[in-house]
Point group: C2
DNA sequence: AGCTTATGTCAGCCTTGTTGACTTTCCAAG
DNA sequence: CTTGGAAAGTCAACAAGGCTGACATAAGCT
């Protein structure tokens, strides 16, 4: 729908070579292939355990924001409560996550990683960070800035909100 | 495992502020949130049809390299032949993909999009490109260069090979 | 007291990944 | 010319992790 055409070479006097359909296709494939690498290392660790990527995501965000509520996690992860609950239940059963009844509002459950949970989180994020660190180092600081700028623009506004929320003061 | 510590401020005389664990965490979350945005638009189109993301990927790479073999597609997508075959079968049945027996090697099947397939590919990639284009435009050419540099470094070497294979001459 | 919110749970469905076993086709080496 | 093995396809069974719908409970709010 709404074919924009294959020519974007010149627009309003500026050279916009980086906006050709071919360049956009490259960007699309870069996202596809890079995301595979991005998840490959934690996936390898998780397949030995009884967990999957969904558990990793839950653990990551509970670690990032200890005491977060189920509802908040739901908004960040963008899945249904049934999906999240299935994951959360196994994590609580296995003693990786603790679910405490809220003090102010007793309907809410606040989620925390146990020692064991923190330990797995560290193992997973170390694996992921190692690859990210190598990529950042080879690419250099300017490339990293560009990387994050583009990704931020690619997010849905709602997701960008969640992204920025945990980023305050660490610009 | 192998905790690298939280300090990377100074290493071999250079300031490497962009390599702190906090910066890496930001990079990790940027990938997570951005990938969601990246797939959101095509996903919305696909859910009305009887197709999913797996169909989109197959269609994309058949369109990129018409006449590619099943084996080649297998290597690019990184799934089992049974998984791919299920997807390919429905696409052939629905008349979006044509599977031609190889002329040189008759065991191979060469895959092509039909008119209908090209049409769906265009609809999906237009949706995806529109978001990518907006992101690239707001971020600017230097950011786009950095974006691609980092993503390239993040790929598995095998995947990088596939990425670069379709990129020759369009640097 | 009654509505709303937060959470949990059961049941069932879909897509997409997996493994294992087996067949057909056909190139190529002995 | 036979035979080994590669390429492709198929069937069956299974699992993870999405989804919807329905319903239960507790607690906050009006």
């Amino acid at each position: 729908m709404a074919e924009q055409g294959t020519q974007n070479q010149v627009s309003s006097g500026e050279s916009l070579l980086f906006l050709t359909d071919e360049q956009l296709r490259r960007g699309i494939e870069a996202m596809f292939f890079a995301y595979r690498g991005f998840t490959a290392d934690p996936d390898r660790i998780l397949e030995n355990l009884a967990y999957g990527r969904a558990h990793h995501r839950a653990i990551h965000f509970i670690n990032r924001t200890p005491g977060t509520t189920v509802n908040n996690l739901l908004a960040i992860l963008g899945v249904t409560k049934q999906s999240l609950n299935r994951v959360l239940r196994t994590l609580v059963e296995d003693g990786l996550v603790e679910s405490r009844v809220g003090t102010r509002d007793k309907r809410e459950r606040h989620l925390y990683l146990t020692e064991q949970g923190v330990s797995l989180e560290r193992e997973l994020s170390d694996a992921q960070r190692t690859r990210m660190r190598a990529a950042f180092r080879k690419a250099g600081p300017d490339a990293v800035t560009g990387f994050r700028t583009v990704l931020e623009q690619m997010m849905d506004p709602e997701m960008k909100r969640h992204y920025l929320a945990a980023t305050e003061g660490s610009k």
